[in-house]
Every structure is written in structure tokens, then in C-alpha cells.
């Protein structure tokens, strides 16, 4: 219980900067008292309570489950099952991500305005679905790469720097209207559930393998989730532009 109160205090400290920024710009820069001060503080209170409960829940449930799954998968000794699990988890969480759906809908408008696709409801919804599947596939691939790296001991810096090179290289071939959405698609899919879950898996996997260190080998999965959607969405845009 004491842990809970300490976390609540922590949440207040975490939220203070946003509230202060809003109050400062409202009062000093715009020179006007805030209209809905009560609403702002009510919302802030909800955010603090929610944040505390959420982080507490992560500590007692999501991290242990991720850990135990990683241990169980590693002790089963089947690399293929591990890869299958990683791919399905990545694909499943990304395809259902609400933020991705919102951005994909926005991107369909861009593509229609640029003339890559016909400006009709049907063409736009096809494009939105295609984009979501592309990103989901990319996130699946990202987790497969991340898990393979942990198990096989590949160099993370080499893979990530190689990925950066590919992103910049592909930018010169992809159609202009696909580049903005491609760059953003990675950051959109790293949601508040995916990040702790994937991290717990990576750390669990690295600590269940005796020759791996959780700190140096357990991280890196999220970095792949940021990279592969950029690459695949640019490819998707290029392919659409050719057809």
C-alpha cells in the first residue's frame, strides 16, 4: 500500500510539467485566465489516478506474464515456436492499434489528394486497410528480427544503422506523398501496451538464456518496431505508384 502512495506522488510529479506549461502559456503569453480551470484540474486528477493504477497494474501483472511467457518459450527449446509467437504478437497488436487506424485514414486522404489512388470511399478504405496490414506485417517482422537477434547474438548497432541507411536510401525512390506517413508509421504503433509487453518479453528472453545479459541484450525490440514500418510502408507506396 505504501508503494501505491509513493506511485501516486510520482504520478503527480509526472503530470506537473504539462499542467504548468499550459498555465504558463495561458497566463503569461496569451495574457488571459484559463476559461475552464476546473475542467483542467478535474482532467489532471483523472490522469493522475489512471496513471497510478496503470503503472501499478503493469508491475504486478504485465511484466510477470511477459517474463514467464519468455521463460516458458525459451525452456520449450523450440526456436520456431518462439518466432511464430513473436510474429503473431507483433502483427496482432499492430493491426488492432487505434492510433494506427486514425493515421492510416488520414494518409488515405493524402494519397487521394496526390492522385496515387482514386478519390472514392472504396479506394480510400482499400488503401487504409492495405496500409494497416503493411504496418502490422512490418511489426511482426520487427519482433522476429528482435527475437532472432537476442537468441543468435547478432549485433544490434549494425542492424539498426543498416536500417537507417535503408530508410534514407528508400526515401529517394518512394513517392513523395508516402514518405511522411511512412516515417510516422513506426512511432504510431509503439503503444502504451505494446512497449511494456515487448520489453518484458525481450528482458525475460535475455535473462533465460545463460550467455545473454538482460540490460545489453534484452532491449532493442522497440527500435526494430520503429524502423521496419518505415521501410515497408515506403515499399508499399512505391508498389502502388508503379501499378
Amino acid at each position: 500500500m505504501r508503494l501505491f502512495w509513493r506511485m501516486a506522488l510520482g504520478s503527480i510529479r509526472d503530470l506537473a510539467p504539462v499542467v504548468l506549461v499550459i498555465l504558463f502559456f495561458q497566463a503569461v503569453v496569451l495574457g488571459r485566465p484559463i476559461a475552464d480551470l476546473q475542467v483542467l484540474f478535474q482532467g489532471a486528477l483523472l490522469v493522475v489516478v489512471g496513471l497510478t493504477l496503470f503503472v501499478y497494474g503493469l508491475e504486478i501483472a504485465l511484466f510477470p506474464v511477459g517474463n514467464s511467457l519468455a521463460f516458458a518459450l525459451a525452456s520449450k527449446g523450440s526456436f520456431l515456436w518462439l518466432l511464430a509467437f513473436a510474429f503473431l504478437l507483433g502483427f496482432g497488436t499492430a493491426v488492432a492499434e487505434p492510433a494506427l487506424t486514425a493515421v492510416a485514414t488520414e494518409a488515405a486522404k493524402v494519397a487521394a489528394a496526390a492522385g496515387s489512388i482514386a478519390d472514392s470511399d472504396l479506394a480510400r478504405s482499400h488503401y487504409t486497410l492495405g496500409l494497416r496490414l503493411t504496418v502490422a506485417l512490418a511489426v511482426g517482422i520487427a519482433l522476429v528480427l528482435g527475437v532472432s537477434r537476442i537468441v543468435l547474438g547478432w549485433s544490434l548497432p549494425k542492424m539498426i544503422v543498416g536500417g537507417y541507411g535503408l530508410v534514407i536510401g528508400l526515401t529517394f525512390f518512394a513517392p513523395v506523398e508516402a514518405i511522411g506517413i511512412a516515417y510516422d508509421s513506426g512511432a504510431v504503433t509503439t503503444s502504451v501496451i505494446t512497449v511494456p509487453l515487448v520489453t518484458a518479453l525481450g528482458i525475460g528472453l535475455a535473462s533465460s538464456l545463460s550467455e545473454r545479459n538482460p540490460l545489453t541484450d534484452g532491449f532493442g525490440m522497440i527500435a526494430f518496431i520503429l524502423l521496419t514500418p518505415m521501410l515497408l510502408v515506403m515499399l508499399y507506396g512505391s508498389v502502388l505508384a508503379w501499378i
Binding site: V18, L53, V55
Partner: protein, 270 residues
């Protein structure tokens, strides 16, 4: 009550995004791996906390912080444009927006639950040698820098890939010199810092700015802020790791040069 209805709707939305993931994990655990979970009761309570906590959190953001933030961005854009007679003549006219973007992006990233959880994890794994608060401030400064660069880019009309390539180039150089232990987490920090709070705040900022600056379209120029917000935390977290390592090395050298008990006064008089 309007509020209860709002809450139930948010709770349903949250459940829809969490339950499939939980079901998938349970299926794998029980059916494929044929293992039992260690403490099912504690886990059930924990998932309930996650569900209710996330719904409450999102409702607070939707109900209060986001609408206030959105109105403020619009007003700030209006003030900046009105401040110069020849509106929007130069990108520096929008300095108020840049300051606001930096401050609000920093605040959003500090409030980011995923960053809090992961930074605590890193601190635990390092046995307390790495400070969670330091990592969070470093990552939040990165988000703020990325978003500010993105806003300047929209106002000045610089191509997005230049800003990305510049960040990548710095990261590659830093990777060579930064302490090995921190590199993997640093690469992750970009994705970790861009989730529940940062993504909506940054998206709203980009759309408002692209809408207000003459010659920019929301559709073409509204994108890209998130990508930059996901790139520059890598730079700042690597820099934080480098600076901490440098300070430690210096302290270690001082300790070996003046072995304890350290002589008081001038250290050159040995």
C-alpha cells in the same frame, strides 16, 4: 451522468484493445506451452488495474488536457501571425509556437506511462546505477528537440528527410563512442517515448501548424513530427549515457590521484 457514460465508453474501447492481447498470451501459455501461470489471482487483479487505469487516464486526457491544448495551439498560432504586419513572412516569426512546442512535448513525454515503466525497469536491471529520472528527462528533452525541429521544418519548408538523416548521422557517430551497455535502451527510447500522451499531442500540434502557416497543407506537411519525436530521444539518451560515463571516469581518476584520506587544500602540494 454524462461522465459515467464517457467512462464506460472509454473502458469498452480500452478493453477492446487489451483483451485480445491478453487472450492471445493466455492461449499461448496454457494451450501451446501447457504451463500454468504462477499467481493467477494477482495477475487478474493487475490486468483489472491496467484496464481501469488506462481508461481513467485516457478519459482525463480526452476530457481536459487535449481540448485545452488544442485551443491553446490555435490561439498561439493566431497571436504569432498577428504579431507581424506581413504575416508569415519568415519562419522565425513563429518563435512562440516553437517555445510552446518544446515545452508541451517535454511535459507530454515526462507524463508518458510507457517511458516511466521502462526507465524504472532499466534502473532496476542496472542495480540502481542508472537513474530512472535522468533517463526520463533525457528522453523527454529528445522528444522536445525532435518536435521543435519538426515545427521549424514545417514553418521553414525544409524537407523531412534532411532532419531525419541529420539525426541518424549524429546517432551513428554517438554509437561508436557511447558506453555499450546503454546503446540498446537508447535505440528503444524513441519508440518508448512516443505512445499514449505524446502521439495525440504531437499530431494535434502538427496539424494546427500546417494549417496556419501559409503555403503548407495539413495533408502534406502535417506528417513527420512523430518520426522526429521518435528519432531525437536516441540522440539525447546516448548523450546522457556519454556524459554520465565521462563524469564517472573523472571522479574515478580523481579518487585514484588523491587516495583517501584526501589531503585538504591544494592537491598539487603532495
Amino acid at each position: 451522468m454524462d461522465l459515467t457514460l464517457d467512462f464506460l465508453a472509454t473502458l469498452l474501447d480500452t478493453a477492446l484493445s487489451i483483451v485480445p492481447i491478453a487472450a492471445f498470451m493466455l492461449f499461448f501459455h496454457y494451450v501451446v506451452l501447457r504451463r500454468r501461470l504462477a499467481q493467477p489471482a494477482q495477475l487478474a487483479v493487475g490486468f483489472l488495474f491496467i484496464l481501469v487505469g488506462l481508461a481513467t487516464f485516457l478519459m482525463g486526457l480526452e476530457a481536459a488536457l487535449f481540448p485545452v491544448g488544442r485551443i491553446m495551439v490555435e490561439e498561439l498560432v493566431a497571436v504569432s501571425v498577428a504579431a507581424v504586419p506581413d504575416a508569415g513572412s519568415h519562419w522565425t516569426d513563429y518563435y512562440l509556437i516553437f517555445a510552446f512546442a518544446f515545452a508541451i512535448a517535454f511535459g507530454a513525454a515526462i507524463a508518458e506511462p510507457a517511458l516511466l515503466a521502462i526507465a524504472t525497469r532499466v534502473s532496476d536491471l542496472s542495480g540502481g546505477a542508472i537513474h530512472a529520472w535522468g533517463l526520463r528527462v533525457a528522453a523527454a528533452l529528445g522528444v522536445a528537440a525532435g518536435v521543435t525541429i519538426g515545427c521549424i521544418r514545417i514553418a521553414a519548408g525544409i524537407p523531412l528527410y534532411w532532419c531525419m538523416a541529420a539525426g541518424y548521422a549524429v546517432i551513428i557517430v554517438q554509437t561508436v563512442f557511447a558506453p555499450r551497455v546503454m546503446v540498446p535502451f537508447a535505440y528503444d527510447s524513441g519508440g518508448v517515448s512516443t505512445s499514449a500522451v505524446t502521439v495525440p499531442v504531437v499530431t494535434a500540434l502538427g496539424l494546427a501548424l500546417a494549417h496556419a502557416v501559409p503555403g503548407r497543407t495539413e495533408l502534406q506537411d502535417g506528417f513527420g513530427l512523430l518520426a522526429l519525436a521518435g528519432t531525437y530521444p536516441v540522440v539525447t539518451v546516448l548523450a546522457y549515457a556519454q556524459v554520465t560515463a565521462l563524469i564517472e571516469k573523472r571522479m574515478l581518476r580523481r579518487r585514484t590521484e588523491n587516495p583517501p584520506p584526501a589531503p585538504t587544500g591544494d592537491s598539487s602540494q603532495v
